[in-house]
Symmetry: C2
Subunit: 366 residues, 2 copies
């Protein structure tokens, strides 16, 4: 037939950013009882969000509003930015991919942190980008390293997750501000704030600046990862650009209703954030008591140094066989770590029961 | 700052394929009571699908299976094609866009029918395609015209909706087979079967052929348009290609559960199709009694020739002011038509009450 995919697509490998827990279950044959590997909120969505979503399922035949006006208006009020500067997407993953499509032509360079959120890389590679990866410095994003790499390579885009995944580290607003001020000419900052609710603070939103696209989600603190809804906040040039290429009906009607209800019941997110911060401390203390150092976390997960990549991998595997799903960073310097979602007290207890059992079994792998 | 979007994105206009009924409400100030403009199933989803979806909203914090294995396995059984040859997407819109990304480089040519489903055009233009549009022939897709245009232009792709929207027309399986056999070398057929359940039959699926990507949806007969879930069936080369660029988590967990439940309760879809076919006939008779010819429909909508573009537009506007949302084809030869979703008997009656009132008011616009 002679039908060929584009040069970019044919050059891609079939690798996916994440193997889902369902696939792990199918491979391992063990049922996952405790999902602490994808930073899904064990607190779930708010009851108000559940009620709003259930009502929408009964009229599932109707398309959601492609402009998501009610939600964008509410976000506009809460964030004090015009609704025109907010663009919805089916999860941050979609927005990262579309942001790459905005500015990346084949063979353009983009810069990210080696071992940071891989779905950015996936989106960029899908546009034919060449990716420069700057290693973590002291287990945190290396701002100077990113800027230098971008300047030398004439990069179109720098990706920063803040707070970062999987390190859990966080850059203070003044550092992000410096990063923005020092961007090389023609280079966009794609700032992924999936975990922003769990951080001490955030740089104020500034939609006058064409240098930054910020993305936030209902997947984490709002407990709606399954529903796929997130948003970008940016300068009107980028929002208009996203509106030219996004899938207008990609955000489903149930998610739109749930997200709006969740915004209107902020006490749920406040509770989640409060409990998560307590849980983070509590888990760090328990890891320390077992001899393991936790990295400072500003997210809803804890990254814990096991001291050996081999042992960290063995722990992951054994936990899976016990029905406990966690993940681990794959690349140095964090590859000796495991990453565990901070659950409610009951999930924390269940995790440590399994973890302590596994520790005894993997003693030899030290 | 000097940040510029890509040549393709900067060259795009901000036009969106569809203005949603919510936007029409905001513009017109009148509340829509009867949504018959987007071919949303007035029968809604099956009770089994609603129950499955509501259960999932309670655990909305969990990501859906990015591989959608349970749903793809069930589709595999029902369609008798391997699950590996099925790729899920967040609605046909996403799949059309991703299919374009597979094969379209900037300035490549794609061929479609003038006035057919505009979201294909949107996806193709977003990849930088030049679009050749072949007019309808006798109010149906002009297969020879598409093939000739593709051959002359060395097109990468031909888009055909079968049944077609907005004409409602349908090409028999042998005609689709001839189309496939006569594709120019290197040209892919993107076959949109959104309305396949309402058609008399369909060409058997053949995943050995690398010439075709077929897409189907849960939006129409299954009554789940709001949930955003559809699938592509194709040769493994194309499925692997889609898996390299699709958003792996784009399909939400509620949609996955609802679609599976809907497949497992086929009596609902059978009822919807049966009632829709009866409703189509019933509405055509009523339109005829009022002096209007309906185009033969193989979908869940009826396209009706009003005889004058001006009057068709006036009817659309007046119906909107009465809270009745329909659409009309915008381009010749169908621009003298209106397009009405076939509802249940009660929606049909409500529509004709409003329509007859509007006819009296628009008499002068003949």
């Amino acid at each position: 037939m002679g039908i060929r995919h584009t040069r970019v697509v044919d050059g891609l490998t079939a690798a996916t950013p994440f193997v889902g827990p369902e696939a792990l279950e199918r491979r391992s044959g063990s049922k996952i009882e405790l999902r602490l590997g994808a930073n899904e909120s064990p607190f779930g969505p708010s009851p108000q969000a559940v009620a709003a979503m259930q009502a929408k399922t009964e009229i599932a035949q109707f398309y959601g509003d492609p402009e998501g006006v009610l939600l964008r208006r509410r976000l506009s009020e809460l964030l004090s930015v015009p609704a025109e500067n907010i663009v919805l997407g089916a999860g941050i993953d979609e927005l990262l991919g579309q942001a790459c499509r905005l500015v990346v032509e084949p063979d353009d360079v983009v810069v990210t942190t080696l071992g940071s959120y891989p779905t950015f890389d996936y989106g960029a590679i899908g546009c034919g980008a060449r990716i420069l990866r700057v290693p973590y410095l002291h287990e945190s994003v290396d701002v100077s390293g990113l800027l230098n790499a971008a300047a030398e390579s004439k990069a179109k885009l720098i990706y920063v997750a803040n707070p970062d995944n999987p390190s859990g580290s966080w850059l203070e607003p003044r550092v992000i501000q410096q990063l923005i001020e020092n961007l090389p000419s023609g280079c966009l900052l794609l700032l992924d704030e999936a975990y922003v609710e769990f951080a001490p603070s955030a740089l104020p939103l500034d939609v006058e600046s064409p240098s930054v696209i910020r993305v936030r989600t209902f997947s984490k603190a709002h407990g709606m990862a399954g529903l796929r809804i997130a948003y970008a906040v940016s300068h009107s040039y980028h929002c208009m650009g996203l509106n030219k290429i996004r899938f207008h009906f990609a955000v489903n009607s149930v998610a739109l209703a749930g997200a709006l209800a969740s915004l209107n019941a902020p006490e749920h997110v406040e509770h989640v954030v409060h409990e998560t911060k307590l849980g983070r401390q509590r888990m760090a203390v328990r890891f320390a008591a077992l001899g393991f150092r936790s990295l400072p976390s500003h997210t809803n997960f804890l990254t814990v140094d096991i001291g050996s990549r081999t042992r960290a991998e063995a722990i992951l595997e054994r936990l899976l066989s016990l029905g406990v799903f966690i993940r681990k960073p794959g690349l140095p310097p964090l590859d000796t770590c495991i990453r565990v979602t901070v659950g409610r007290v009951e999930e924390q207890d269940a995790f440590f029961r399994a973890f302590e059992q596994v520790l005894r079994e993997t003693e030899h792998a030290r």
